[in-house]
């Protein structure tokens, strides 16, 4: 027994050593340890980010060089910090803080000490940097914007954060990545592929040539340029018109689904989010919780669609055969829901579809909706059919365009009302407001524009998108090139389109005609409320307008939504009319109209709820 004690200890030790060694060397070993190897230095070669062009090849986004001061903590020698900080133009505290952070990240991998110096700062630094061991300057390419518009579409790039580093092994500290918009959506295309060189270092940390003769090195691949569908001039012009107004505008080419312009007001110049002032500017923009310039209203705002939604009611009623274009409804300057009267501004009288649309008669659409509803035996069935028609226009769900953010809007179905009122405890009177685009329906401006495009196409749409060409390749993604058909047969569109054309000829937008262009449109005026000190208070109506032109060969379909702009033909109608003229003709003939839109702002409206005093809404003078 005693003879065996020592022998068994020896064997036990041997086994546990072999176990531990196989854990270390067989199990935990992984091929990519090269990056962790302190004796191998990794040098990256960053390719230039791809340029972004507009639909006609005008340059929107190029690059400019910037210079990061990098540090490898392990290699830093004692230095005169005061002098060094003065040279870099940073405070001592910041220097110490950054060094601490860098050391914690990794003592031997480079970290950014001071990001994004300009060319001028760099020139002064370059010579003196040699004195400071462990610090060097890394050239990076930042964005250089050739337009002051489209910040919401283009997005911005910024340094990767810890979450990016964890979730995507491609990135190293200090690298840039697309954060929003096109920059994020097409990040991998735009950034290309960084090159990698491995360099063997000796015990004194000197480079002694390529590691293993460079067999593992990778060349860098340039970022690919993008051509997007925006029209630079239309975008810039639209943003000019939006100064001082809040809202969203989306214009689509109906024949292709290409987004011509996509505006959110207020916005900001894209160049604000570049360079050393980036984070300061970003906080300023991001913390502006009143006007919210970084919130893209063109795809995120979900107001009630208002009267433009009536066009779909007409189409659905025709499709279901419950009315014909000539079916008359009488307007008593309003209509009755049970015993309650709901108002109408159309002037009263007998309305057919044509007058119903161009005079925007509430009573007509309430009546048509009731007919539609009564066709079906149960409320549930009626709601299902109605919901199907509405959703076929791209409403009530994410559209699937190529931006990394969006909202679904809302087309309330039977489930929604069962939830709100209780199972089956609702009927047409509860939901009739939807017929005039008020009730529970909600749509983003891009959904309204897409709906308009579907009407312009008489029954189908292409999913709106921003990408046109990647490098030299025109896109052929079926998501963007295949037609999405609505549930309405083509022959039902003619009377609705005629009604919309008459909106310009005789109706609510007759003062907004564009000489020589036949436009179809629909105004909308959307009641809205806010809560001030716990009291629900009505604000000036939102101004909404949808239109497409020319009527017989639509080139542009657009939706304009202006917060608190009062009735539809006022702000939204004006802006829509100017954009259509600008896009189709290139110049503006109605200078007085243009002047009025450029000068007018709605800041006084937006200030009202915060004034602390009583205020009037929907003031007639403007």
């Amino acid at each position: 027994m005693k003879k065996l004690v020592l022998s068994s200890i020896i064997i036990l030790v041997g086994i546990s050593f072999l176990g531990r060694l196989s854990y270390l060397q067989l199990f935990r070993f992984s091929e990519d340890h090269l990056l962790e190897d302190p004796a191998v230095k990794v040098v990256y070669d960053y390719p230039e980010r791809g340029y972004i062009y507009d639909r006609s090849g005008k340059l929107l986004v190029a690059n400019q060089p910037a210079y990061d001061v990098m540090v490898i903590p392990r290699e830093v020698q004692p230095l005169d910090t005061t002098e060094f900080c003065t040279l870099l133009g940073i405070s001592r505290e910041r220097f110490i803080g950054q060094m601490q952070k860098a050391r914690i990240y990794s003592p031997r991998l480079p970290s950014v000490l001071v990001p994004q110096l300009s060319k001028e700062d760099y020139a002064g630094l370059q010579e003196k940097m040699r004195k400071y061991k462990g610090f060097y300057i890394e050239k990076r390419s930042l964005r250089d914007y050739k337009t002051n518009a489209g910040a919401n579409v283009l997005g911005y790039i910024s340094e990767v954060n810890e979450w990016d580093l964890k979730s995507n092994p491609y990135y190293e500290l200090g690298e840039l990545t697309g954060r929003t918009g096109i920059e994020k959506q097409y990040e991998e295309v735009l950034r290309g592929q960084k090159g990698v060189k491995y360099i063997q270092k000796d015990r004194f940390n000197r480079d002694i040539g390529p590691y293993k003769d460079g067999v593992k090195d990778l060349p860098s691949i340039r970022g690919t340029e993008l051509h997007i569908t925006l029209d630079k001039e239309l975008q810039e012009y639209g943003e000019l018109l939006m100064r001082g107004k809040r809202g969203g505008i989306v214009a689509i080419e109906p024949g292709s689904g290409e987004i011509l312009t996509m505006i959110s007001g207020p916005t900001y110049e894209p160049s604000l989010l570049v360079g050393r002032e980036r984070s300061k500017n970003y906080s300023t923009l991001h913390n502006d919780s009143l006007s919210r310039p970084t919130w893209d209203r063109s795809i995120l705002a979900e107001p009630s669609p208002g009267s433009p939604f009536k066009t779909l009611q007409a189409l659905a009623a025709l499709q279901e055969g419950v009315i014909s274009p000539e079916t008359p409804f009488t307007c008593y300057n309003g209509f009755y829901v049970g015993n309650r009267k709901r108002g109408c501004h159309c002037g009263g009288g007998t309305r057919t579809m044509n007058t119903g649309i161009y005079k925007s008669c509430n009573a007509y659409f309430a009546g048509a909706f009731r007919r539609f509803y009564d066709k079906f035996e149960t409320s549930d069935k009626a709601m299902d059919v109605w919901e199907g028609h509405m959703k076929s226009f791209g409403l009530g769900n994410y559209l699937g365009y190529d931006l990394p953010t969006g909202r679904p809007g809302r087309i309330p179905g039977k489930d929604y009302y069962d939830r709100v009122y209780g199972d089956g405890r609702w009927s047409s009177t509860y939901i009739i407001s939807n017929a005039i685009g008020q009730g529970e329906v909600a749509a983003t401006p891009i959904q309204l524009a897409n709906m308009t495009a579907a009407i312009a196409n008489r029954g189908f749409y292409y999913t709106p998108h921003l990408i046109k060409k990647i490098g030299e390749e025109t896109i052929d993604d079926p998501q963007y090139t295949e037609r999405k058909y609505t549930t309405i047969d083509p022959e039902h569109f003619a009377p609705v389109v005629q009604g919309m054309a008459d909106v310009y000829e005789k109706g609510t937008a007759r003062w907004l005609q564009v000489p020589g262009v036949k436009i179809a449109g629909k105004t909308g005026t959307v009641e809205n409320f806010t809560i001030i000190d716990g009291v629900r208070k009505q604000l000036t109506d939102h101004s909404v307008f949808v239109a497409f032109a020319p009527v017989d060969n639509p080139q542009i379909a657009l939706a304009v939504y202006i917060e608190n702009g009062y009735y539809g033909a006022r702000y939204a109608g004006h802006i829509a009319s100017l954009l259509i003229e600008k896009y189709l003709k290139g110049t503006i003939s109605r200078k007085d109209l243009e002047k009025r839109m450029l000068e007018k702002t709605l800041e006084h409206e937006y200030a009202k709820p915060y004034s602390g005093e009583d205020f009037k809404i929907n003031e007639y003078v403007w």
Binding site: K3, V5, L6, S7, I10, L26, E36, I104
Partner: protein
């Protein structure tokens, strides 16, 4: 002559030198005989060791038994002499400056102590079962250790305690060892999980024993309860000592070893300070993979990222450049060598030879266990060399003497009865 042992000895020394060469060469120097470089010097030490083997084998076997006490006293004197005459390297006064090389007497003391202990225990008057004789034997072991601790070189001092294995072999009750093991276990588990869990764990273990025992077996309740209380008292005092008596650097060492620190920032801090060596050596070994990066291709070795790589951390070079194949070969060679030596010791008819044999195995085993255990992160950092492998003249010569005296005794065993 036991050729298996000689072969393994030569293999270990040869492999050791190759790795020392890889750890210390510079691309500028070409001659392996460059005496200004460690690998050149080590060649000289190897030559001296081989020469000393001739001397060891040339002497009568009975010489070692007869002169063991004298040798022991001589090395004690050498250790005492360090206090006035010693040379200080890296804070430790452990060397005599002999001009061409520094002699470290503690390395020779191991051999002498093993001889002296064997001599005392094999004496016809000695009975290891007697408390007084146990104390004498312990004194022989502790005396050199006490002289070495203040150099300071606690690692080397620790090695002498390995010689208690000889006592166990010769009749010291094994439960001493059992108690020590349990104490170590309680110490570790208390640090890792806290006293409460140790208490619960021990309690559960006792309940299991009661449930699983044969119905006929009787376990006296009171003594068991007393032992339980004793164990818990020990566990609680471990906590107290750890928190109040240990200094931060000691605590850090244990938290590193037992992976107690979970906060990534503090862990990073430990890795850069007290845990730097362990972390770097572990990483270097890990990076070797199955086959290693190849001789002279170890990038971390080349970059000198592991400190003391040619001495205490020589095994990391094996790990990085030769991979799992290399490290397991070394582990297997040591295992075979140690088992072979146990076998050699057991076949001695002469009690002195047997006890000395056990001393050799104990010393070599503790070196090998602590050194590799430390390098691969299983044990806390204790700086002692890997026998036959690490750079250093005194060490190599000392281990060679230790081993070949046993071989000389073994070669003589058949003549004993002539």
């Amino acid at each position: 002559m036991d050729w298996i042992t000689v072969l393994i000895f030569l293999l270990l020394v040869g492999m050791g030198w190759m790795n020392i060469y890889s750890s210390t060469y510079d691309e500028g120097n070409s001659s392996i005989f460059d005496l200004s470089q460690e690998y050149g010097k080590q060649l000289v030490f190897i030559a001296i060791s081989l020469a000393s083997i001739v001397l060891v084998l040339g002497l009568e076997a009975s010489f070692y038994e007869r002169f063991s006490s004298l040798l022991y006293l001589l090395t004690l004197l050498l250790l005492i002499g360090l206090f006035p005459f010693g040379k200080t390297i890296a804070g430790a006064t452990s060397w005599y400056d002999l001009g061409f090389f520094n002699l470290q007497p503690s390395e020779l003391a191991k051999t002498a102590t093993a001889l002296a202990l064997a001599k005392y225990l094999s004496d016809i008057q000695t009975d290891i079962k007697r408390r007084k004789d146990q104390l004498y034997a312990l004194l022989i072991i502790i005396l050199p250790a006490l002289l070495i601790i203040p150099q300071p070189d606690p690692g080397s001092a620790l090695v002498f305690f390995a010689l208690v294995f000889v006592l166990f072999r010769e009749g010291l009750p094994l439960w001493y060892l059992g108690v020590a093991l349990v104490a170590v276990l309680i110490f570790i588990t208390t640090l890792m999980f806290g006293s409460a869990w140790v208490g619960i764990g021990l309690g559960l273990a006792l309940i299991m024993v009661f449930l699983l025992k044969k119905p006929t077996a009787k376990i006296p309740f009171l003594p068991v309860a007393g032992l339980y209380v004793l164990a818990m008292a020990f566990s609680l005092s471990v906590n107290f000592v750890f928190e109040n008596v240990f200094e931060q650097r000691h605590r850090d060492r244990f938290s590193l070893w037992l992976r107690l620190e979970k906060d990534p920032e503090k862990l990073e801090e430990i890795r850069k300070t007290i845990g730097y060596n362990t972390y770097q050596s572990e990483k270097a070994i890990e990076s070797g993979g199955t086959l290693g990066k190849g001789f002279l291709e170890g990038t971390r070795t080349k970059g000198d990222f592991v400190p003391e790589q040619h001495t205490d951390y020589i095994f990391t070079t094996v790990g990085e450049e030769w991979g799992f194949v290399g490290t397991s070969t070394v582990v297997l060679l040591f295992t075979i060598l140690l088992l072979r030596l146990v076998h050699l010791a057991e076949r001695q008819k002469n009690p002195f030879s047997r006890m000395y044999g056990y001393g050799v195995v104990s010393i070599l085993m503790v070196h090998y266990f602590i050194n590799i255990g430390m390098v691969i992160g299983m044990l806390p950092t204790i700086g002692i060399p890997l026998p036959f492998f690490s750079y250093g003249g005194s060490g190599l010569i000392g281990f060679t003497l230790l081993l070949f005296i046993l071989l000389r005794l073994d070669a003589n065993r058949l003549k004993e009865w002539d």
